[in-house]
Structures are given as C-alpha cells and as structure tokens.
C-alpha cells in the first residue's frame, strides 16, 4: 500500500500551472493514479475538461507521454498504443521495461459516447487501465447531463424547470457493466480517499490485462459548491452510500470502505446547487425516491460482497 511519504517523493506526472478550476478533482485523480505506478506510464485522454485544461498549446502540464485523439476513443487509442508496444517489443524497438498504459476519460467520454470504444478495448484484453474521472456531467461544454448524472440533478440539458425537476433517470451503473465484462480488475473510488484510490491503482497496475476504475470527481462548478469542499463531497458521497467504494478482483467483490454511520442522502444533496430545487416544497417524493434507490443499490452491492 502506498504511503504519503513515498508518494510525496515521486516525480509528478502532471505539473502545476494548468488551467483546471480551483478545487477541481480531476488532477487529484490523475496524480494519485499515476503516482501509484512503479513503472513508466503512457497516457491517453478523451476530449473533455482534463485534456483542455492540461494541454493548451504551447503549454503542456504532462511530464509523461500523452496522447489526445478525440472525444469517444480514449480506450481505442490506448489499445493502439499498447498494440504498437507489443509489436515493437518483438523487434526489440520498444522500451525494455514494463509500461503501464492508462486511458482517461470523463463520464461523457466513458459512459456515453466512448462506451463502445471502452467495451471493445476491455473485451480485447489489452494490457491497460481505463480510468473514468466521473464528475457526473459533460463539464467541458457547460454542464450537460450524461448517463452518469444522478436523478434530480439540474444540468443545462436537463434543467430544473417548472414541470421537470432536473434529470428524471437514475444513473447508469457503469461499474457493474464493466464487472460484467469479466475483466481481471474493476474498482470504484472517489476523490477524498487518497489511500483507497492509490491502493486500487497500485493493485490495478500489478495485474496484466484490462482494468477499469470509476472514480467520483466532485466538480465545484457543475455541482455548485465552494472549491475547498471537493474532498469533503467525495467523502460524503461514500458516507451516504451514494458512491460506494469497492473493488472486484477476478469477479470477487470487496467493499473497501464501510461508512461508520450511513448518512442520509440529503446530507450529500443539500451541499450542492445542482440539487437545490429538490428542497423546495413539493419535491419530497423525489428525495425519497433517490434515498430508496441508493439504499437498493447499496443493499445489492453488500449482497455481492463477501462477509
């Protein structure tokens, strides 16, 4: 398990000075994941906030090889890099050491438009780790709903209007869909749990083959909260069981964090502007429905976890 002292001594994979918002969770995820790799890394990224804030020409925040291709193809692009590595290795033209190939994508680039590319790459068994930095909407283009957006959240394409109270669907459970790919490693983590995230990344990097991690990334702008609360919101998501932390190794479920006390979902919701309209009179049923669905998913997960 990585410790803070070792992590702090590591070379930074991305440097400061990039253009992410104050309090953005995405670079936290990138740093913690990549610093957990003992081997060199090569990174691909989908179009989205991460790519936009780190690569504006002539600057680059990346201290490791980085390739951005388009929005929906981070996984396919990474699979090509990995295939090239294998081919060049046979000819003695690739780096001698093991290299970890890491594809990043936002929830839009992962759950929605890049879903097919992700599924294909995982099925083909490339030796790569896909990390979804999941801020639960298309933030780069101005907070549009995705299939990761929670029910009730207001976004610019599912706004809270006079008759429709934000998004009416529950989020797709992508982590479970990736488990159904029967790949060797799938995990869910969140900003605010550095030890959980780095341990999972380290584990993922120790396994050869396709790996997937879904990391909740509070977004101060899209969720509507003060920038200093990013880690706190990640923790609240786990403590309310809205976003459980767990991993699935070779099909075996393990809860990696059990809240001491399962907090009511409203404690998470009330901190964020995107849910503010739900607290107006008349929307009680929505809050109830959200709590019910969170409970149902949490119970279903517990049933899958050992012990």
């Amino acid at each position: 398990m990585p410790n803070l002292k070792d992590l702090a001594a590591k070379k930074e994979p991305i440097c400061g000075g990039h253009r992410a918002c104050a309090g953005c969770g995405a670079p936290i995820i990138v740093r913690q994941v990549l610093m957990s790799s003992k081997d060199p890394v090569v990174v691909t990224s989908a179009t989205g906030c991460l790519e936009v804030v780190t690569t504006i020409f002539p600057y680059s925040a990346w201290e490791v090889p980085f390739l951005h291709n388009a929005f929906e193809n981070s996984a396919a692009t990474c699979s090509g890099v990995e295939a090239a590595f294998k081919a060049l290795k046979k000819k003695g033209q690739a780096p001698a050491e093991h290299v970890n190939f890491v594809a990043f994508g936002g929830d839009g680039g992962t759950y929605d438009i890049g879903f097919q590319s992700l599924s294909g790459a995982m099925e083909r068994g490339h030796d790569m780790l896909y990390v979804c930095y999941n801020n639960e909407a298309y933030m780069n283009t101005g907070i549009q709903r995705s299939s990761a957006t929670p029910m009730g959240a207001a976004t610019t394409t599912a706004p809270a209007g006079k008759v429709i109270p934000g998004k009416v669907q529950f989020p797709k459970n992508l982590t479970e869909i990736m488990v159904a790919h029967d790949i060797p490693y799938v995990a869910q983590s969140a900003v605010g749990f550095w030890r959980d995230l780095t341990s999972k990344a380290e584990k993922a990097f120790s396994i050869r083959g396709p790996k997937f991690m879904n990391v909740l990334q509070p977004c101060r702008l899209g969720w509507g909260y003060k920038p200093e609360l990013t880690a706190e919101l990640g923790r609240l998501a786990a403590n309310t069981c809205v976003w459980p932390l767990y991993e699935v190794i070779e099909g075996k479920y393990k809860l990696t964090y059990r809240p001491k006390e399962k907090k009511p979902v409203v404690e998470f919701l009330k901190m964020q502007d995107r849910f503010r309209h739900l607290f107006r009179p008349g929307n009680e049923a929505i809050l109830e429905a959200i709590q019910k669905e969170v409970d149902r998913r949490w119970e279903a997960l517990l049933n899958k976890c050992e012990g």
Binding site: F57, S60, F66, R124
Partner: protein, 392 residues
C-alpha cells in the same frame, strides 16, 4: 517475379502481408471485408509479425491506428463506404499528427439508400482531410499502389497518411493476372520505419493532440499544406523509381493516346481500363480520341492536368460521384478550376455516371465519345453537366 491470379482484395492483402506492418486495426465491410479476413488469416498462420487489433468499429480502427502510429509503429488498415465515414472524424487527426498510416480503400457507394457496389462517393467525401489518395485501374495497380503508398506516406518530406483505392467488386472481386514482388524484395523496398516524437519515447515525453486555438492552429496547418505540395514530387519520384526497379512506372496522371487526340475522357479508377479498350477501337477507325487517367486525386495534379488537356478540342470528365452542388462532380470541379488559368483549354463536359455500381459498358463509352465528337465539331457544348445512364 511471380505472376499470380489475384482479385483486387487479394492483391492488396498480399501487399500488406509482404509489408508486414507492426499493427493492423481493422473492421469488416463489403467489399473490403476480404482484405481484413485474409490478413487475419496471415496473422493466425504466423505469416506476419503484426499485432492485429480486431476492433469493434471503424471508428475504433482508425483510433487504434492513430494510437499505434503515434507510438512509432508502421500501421495499416482497410475499409469501404460507411466504414470510411465512421473513420472520418479521426482521418484529419491522423494527418494533423503526421502519421503515415496506409489504408486500403475499396470504393463503394455511400448510404442512403444502402448499396454495396462501386462509386466514388466514399473516397470523395474524405478528400479534404489531408490524406494522399491514389486510385487504381486494376488489381496490379492496387498491389503496386499499396507498396508505393507506404513509401510516399513515410517519406520525411511528406509524413501524411495515404489511401490507395480500388473499385468495389469491379476490381476488388475480379480475378486478374498480376505480377508480385518476392517477399524479400518488398522488405527491402519499404525498408525499416522509425517514428519520430513517439509516445513510447519515455525519456523525452511528448504531448500529442494538444488543444490548439486561434494563436497557433492556423500555423500548424501550414506544414500540412507544405507536405501536400511536396507529396506531388515525391509521388512522381517514387513512381519513377518503381518503374526503374520493377518495370512498371507511375506518375500523377497517365495520358493514353492523348498526344494528337481531339476528344478525350478524363476518369478515375477501373473505368480507365474500359476506356482504353474503346480508345483502341476508335483509333482503329481513325478517330482522334484518348484518355487522361487521374491516378492521384490528392494532392491534385492541377498543372499537369491543364497541360495534358491543352491541345484537346473536348475533354469529357467522368465522375463516379456527385457533389450535389449543381456544379458537377468533384473531379469535374477540380479539373475545371485547374483549367481556369490555362491559355489554351478544351471545351469540357461532365458526365456523372455509375452511381451505386451502375455499370459503364464499352457501348456507353462509345456513345459518350460519339456525342462529344459532335460537340467538338460544333465547337460548343450543349449541356455541361449530364447524368449518364440514369432512367428518366
């Protein structure tokens, strides 16, 4: 050099096998499926060292090709029609990143309505993506063009992706006698490829695919303009060298009995072969007809075409696709534009023909020549844009 019977698809996959690329990422689509299938068998039989990535779509095929090429690998793929369309978002990214990917393109009409037969609407739809585009007249040329594309694309003065095209079914599925090179000869011919500024260079990490806004985007397009300019002479150089080495020389365009011709057809692809037969026949009868075959569509050999057409009375431009702009097909509009500055130029007519695989026969071409010889006599074209062979 071995002479073998091969379809266009077999010829292309044979060239791929001999090139032995590092990575092939591809997805099946009629009529290019066979290229992918045959190559997969080469991989399964251990005849190549290639990492074959059997992707779940053409979008991922081109995406993986970009990833692999950015990692410094020699990369090839193949597709048709809808497949090329699905790739098309990524095609200009491949050229902007200066990745010399080679694509076997089998021309097929775009949907809709859905159709599987030949026209050039697919290749023409991606004509402005800074890919080299070379059309083949037959299976022999398909084979030769794939080998040359590898050389052209990887030339340091070019470094752009390239596609060699055949006409769906007409070339892709017809058996012809072709002359191939020995495996060792191809190996020597294409040589070793070494990518520059790759993402596998761990010591000098690069950032590729940056966000590039008003400040630099425009400047970053200029080297591509330059590379396309260079491509013209490189293609000629490679075509000449190919002739010297293997006896089959290639240029940007090919004039056939053009020197003293009064009426000539200008065309792309397999129709050129049919036209040659008609030209021979009419020449026997003493008629001054000829053909200008456009082998390279990108870069567009404008000056060469203008010079080749200068002494004609009438040039008939055959387009196997339309631009739906009321200005004629893509070949016509570009030829017309090439003639604008010419001191001497022929009358021109555009025949849009063969959409969705409608056949063009010897008789059709005879009738086109007959009509246009009348135009030559009259000194005036009746109709500039004609839809040929379509029922009223």
């Amino acid at each position: 050099m071995p002479i073998i019977a091969r379809t266009g698809n077999e010829a292309m996959s044979e060239a791929m096998r001999q090139i032995n690329p590092d990575v092939v990422a591809a997805y099946p689509i009629t009529p290019a499926t066979e290229v992918v299938m045959l190559f997969a068998k080469f991989v399964a039989d251990g005849l190549v060292d290639t990492e074959f990535v059997a992707v779940e779509s053409e979008h991922s095929a081109m995406s993986a090709c970009v990833g692999a090429s950015a990692a410094g690998a020699r990369v090839m793929t193949g597709t048709s029609s809808q497949g090329l369309q699905l790739m098309s978002e990524i095609l200009p990214i491949a050229s902007a990143l200066r990745l010399p990917i080679v694509l076997c393109e089998v021309n097929r009409a775009l949907s809709g309505p859905i159709n599987i037969h030949c026209d050039h609407s697919d290749t023409m739809a991606v004509r402005d993506f800074a890919w080299i585009q070379i059309f083949s007249e037959n299976a022999q040329e398909a084979y030769d063009n794939i080998l040359q594309c590898m050389k052209i694309a990887e030339d340091k003065r070019v470094l752009l992706p390239a596609m060699a095209t055949t006409d769906g079914f007409i070339i892709s599925h017809c058996m012809e006698k072709i002359e191939t090179l020995e495996d060792a000869e191809v190996k020597k011919y294409v040589g070793e490829y070494k990518g520059v500024n790759t993402v596998l260079d761990l010591k000098n990490p690069v950032t590729l695919g940056s966000l590039d806004l008003q400040d630099y985007y425009f400047e970053h397009k200029m080297p591509i303009v330059e590379a396309m300019r260079n491509a013209k002479s490189v293609i000629e150089e490679v075509g000449k060298e190919f002739g010297k080495l293997y006896g089959r020389e290639y240029g940007l365009i090919e004039g056939y009995k053009l020197d003293d011709a009064e009426v000539a057809i200008v065309a792309l692809g397999s129709t050129c072969g049919t036209t040659k037969a008609v030209v021979d026949e009419l020449r026997e009868k003493g008629q001054k007809v000829g053909l200008l075959k456009i082998r390279v569509f990108r870069p567009f050999p404008a000056e060469e075409i203008a010079a080749a057409l200068a002494n004609l009375k009438v040039a008939v431009i055959l387009d196997r696709s339309d631009s739906y702009n009321n200005q004629g097909g893509p070949l016509f509009t570009e030829v017309r534009s090439a003639l604008y500055d010419a001191a001497k130029k022929p009358l021109i007519t555009n025949y849009i023909y063969g959409l969705g695989g409608r056949e063009i026969s010897l008789d059709d071409l005879r009738s086109i020549f007959a009509e246009q010889q009348e135009v030559a006599k009259a000194g005036k074209a009746k109709e500039v844009i004609k839809y040929f062979g379509v029922r009223e």
